[in-house]
């Protein structure tokens, strides 16, 4: 069921164990990367039947890929996991409730229009003070922040001479629930000399489908995006403000490898995908003067930025460049916060435990703000901070940069 060469990369050394959030929490080998690879291998070779237990341990994986950072053998764990999950989806029948919940997520999140409708409803309930009833009935709903109305983004020209032309992925959750992040990114990029296009026909990146083992669904969305981002002039970069989406788009080449009509364009698009913090870091020298606002900030490494895309220093450099900002390193900064795409909705217990661990570390730094470059992490961390009544603010690094450019008058 799975390319045996992928599995054979693992030599069973165990150096991934201490990097794995679920192993750190549970101490059980089958909830470690090495254990999961062992399970997938055993099922794949036919010496172990696919069972509810196997599915359970694959489900519990956050897909954070911290193990890939730790692995000396270059095991592509993310691909093994995706293949394992794809096999589960095709060969295993989940209980009804489980199936419905998963279907709901897939039918809701990757669809900005549906998500916007739900967000509108939530906003109404929040305004009427009825949202508390919902959160009492559905604990996961506590993740929902106070929803602000958002307007659609439009393409904008660079301030002054354009040195770069980029296309921005709006994203689903980030577009609807954190629209401010995209707007801030767009302003920052414009000010630093980048023209920002918003391709009209773009869609969800497909990350949620990929994580859920729905490879066909992911391919369908990827093709739409390849068309949307490859029509007209080729942008210098495809900019993404959500780490999870960026990581998924960088995989387009591998995802559509066997599709003769798309393989080449998909690989070309994947090669141009950049996180917004990378591009801003590159253009920072061209930035207008920055305003000062004294604050202490720490930075949380989103898994899909640090582990999946290997982007660690650009956001830190950006933050350190802001006048008046003191950057304090976060303990276990690259340990997953438990959000992991839709994981906090499918595995609330583990997600909550990791959220508490993350926020313990954040509070211990004594900061005013925590900078987070992924919407899922931001929602998860903000919800846990809210629960504790903490005043620590959650912001995207580019929101902080945008505020500094506007003279530090930010929120």
């Amino acid at each position: 069921m799975i390319d045996a060469a992928l599995l054979r990369q693992c030599v069973h050394c165990g150096l991934c164990l201490d990097a794995c959030p679920t192993y750190l929490q549970l101490g059980t080998e089958m909830d470690s990367p090495r254990g999961r690879i062992h399970l997938v291998g055993a099922v794949s070779e036919g010496s172990l039947p696919l069972s509810a237990d196997v599915v359970r341990h694959l489900d519990l994986c956050l897909g954070c890929r911290a193990c890939e950072t730790a692995c000396p053998s270059g095991v592509e764990y993310g691909r093994i996991l995706e293949a394992g999950r794809a096999a589960v989806e095709t060969q295993w029948r989940r209980p009804l409730g489980d199936r419905l919940r998963r279907r709901l997520l897939i039918e809701l999140f990757p669809h900005p229009r549906r998500l916007r409708a739900v967000a509108g409803l939530v906003r109404l309930l929040q305004a009427l003070g009825l949202w508390r009833i919902v959160t009492a009935l559905i604990p996961s709903a506590r993740l929902m922040p106070e929803v602000q109305p958002t307007s659609a983004l439009r393409s904008t020209a660079a301030d002054g001479v354009a040195v770069m032309r980029v296309a921005l992925l709006e994203g689903c959750v980030s577009g609807v629930l954190q629209g401010g992040v995209n707007s801030a990114a767009q302003r920052v990029l414009n000010r630093c000399g980048a023209a920002v296009d918003i391709p009209a026909d773009q869609t969800c990146c497909g990350a949620l489908h990929l994580h859920a083992g729905d490879l066909e669904g992911a391919r369908r969305l990827a093709r739409t995006n390849v068309d949307a981002f490859s029509s007209g002039a080729v942008p210098d970069a495809v900019v993404v403000t959500a780490a999870g989406c960026g990581a998924a788009m960088r995989e387009y080449g591998a995802l559509l490898r066997d599709d003769p009509r798309y393989a080449e364009r998909a690989a070309a698009l994947a090669a141009r995908v950049r996180d917004a913090t990378e591009v801003a870091d590159e253009l920072l020298d061209r930035c207008p003067p920055l305003g000062a606002r004294a604050q202490r900030v720490t930075y949380h490494d989103a898994c899909h930025l640090a582990h999946a895309q290997g982007v660690r220093q650009p956001p830190r450099r950006l933050l350190a460049a802001l006048p008046g900002l003191e950057l304090i390193e976060l303990a276990e900064s690259d340990l997953c916060c438990g959000s992991a795409g839709s994981y906090n909705l499918t595995e609330p217990d583990m997600a909550a435990a990791l959220g508490r661990r993350k926020v313990d570390n954040i509070i211990a730094t004594g900061v005013d703000s925590v900078a987070v470059a992924n919407p899922g992490c931001a929602l998860q961390i903000a919800a846990e901070l809210r629960r504790r009544g903490s005043a620590v603010r959650v912001a995207h690094p580019l929101e902080l940069l945008d505020e500094a450019m506007r003279g530090g008058e930010g929120t």
């Binding site: 165990g14 150096l15 101490g27 080998e29």
Partner: protein, 511 residues
Amino acid sequence: MGGNLYANPADCNCAPPCRAVIGERRLRPVSSPRVSPELIDELRAIVGAAAVVADEASTRVYECDGFTLARSAPDVVVLPGSRDEMVAVVRKVAASGLCFVPRGAGTGLSGGCLPLDAPVMIGTSRMRAIRSVDFENRRVVAEAGVVNLHVTRAAAAHGLFYAPDPSSQSACTIGGNVAENSGGPHTLKYGVTTNHVLGLELVLPDGEVVELGGEVDDVPGYDLRGLAIGAEGTFGIVTAATLRLVRTPQAVRTLLGMFRDVDDACRAVSAIIAAGILPAALELMDRMIVEAVEAAYGFGFPPDAGAVLIVELDGLEVGLGEQVDAVRAICQTARASEVRVARDEAERAALWKSRKRAFGAVGRLAPNYCTQDGVVPRGSVPEILRRIAAAAERYRLRIANVFHAGDGNIHPIMLFDERDADEVSRVLAAGKEILEACVELGGSVTGEHGIGVEKIEQMPLLFSPVDLRVMSELRLVFDAQRRCNPGKIFPTPGACVETVKVGMPRRQVPL
């Protein structure tokens, strides 16, 4: 016991032998006693349901450690979270008469935690507390499941570190380090685990807790602490250790010598020691390893380096520069093509990452590897390397070498593909031959990985029957019924390991 080397295996209510298979994938035990559902329920009552692993899928992942040639899954894995839970679990298992095997992080390389004749596995992965720190007296009490590197992390802010640094230190745990008496690249100057453990808390196989050693050096009476370290879990389960911390050296310089071949590099090693210099580490990597490591980490080793020597000097800032110059001159005399000094801490860290993760990096060269762990007198290193190369040629294998050159601890890494039964059997044969050569040259069959199941066959090469008898009888003081980690270290007539022989039907090889 008397003069009989082999106590009656029937003392123990486990264990018809032949449960594990070397060179072939798992063979489920057929006739050995199984864990009853009642026992599983009782264990759950002690540690909680989440800490008892009993389903087929989950126990499967415990079938081997870093030594993957032998596999055998336990019936149940129990993960106590505290000493009291551990005591209760061990008592319960003792009352059932079953054998058990302790397991740390499962990073061992000799199959030390393979559940050979033991249906119950007891893991320490949930015992991760550092119970106390005493920086003034430079000691720390760590539970068995604390990761080696976490001890140093806890002490670093106080200018202290825990010296034994096995390559797996970012994952392996203190309990496993104690069981295997682990070393590491810095063994040359700082010694191995036993030199850094003051005291041990050991749960005996009947559930009694004994304190070995103490909080200070030179506790009167027998050095039972020393006995238990390296006992490979045959005395019971260590639940905590009082560890010695060492002052972080004021200054460190790391040199990198590139040589045309390993012979030249070995000459440099001998000359450095002969000059009266004691480096903190003296490590050698051959061409194949350098290539794999370069592919994995891109450190910047020259592509044509036939051997790379890492020399780390540490101590007071004053005088270190002279030592660096001396080592550089020695390397140049030994025809080094280039000698570099790590520019800063970041470059030094990158270099050590390359070295310490070298084992994993060979995963890029072949699907499987088997690391041997032999020792020869330092002067015989070039000779053993020649014999390894000869064995590689004769058995048509690729063998890479990365090792602690300073103390003659060699680590030939044999590459293979486990799906190729013929190649597997050649690996086993070559490994055996290399270890025999080590003994012949006046060395030993293991430097730091332990005997486990891997080298059990070679024990009689190293020890006389009387030596083995004394060791075997000593074990009975702690574990009279041989219920804790049975089938390890000592060759017993009952135990057997099945191997796949070239061109022959599988046969049993009595040990």
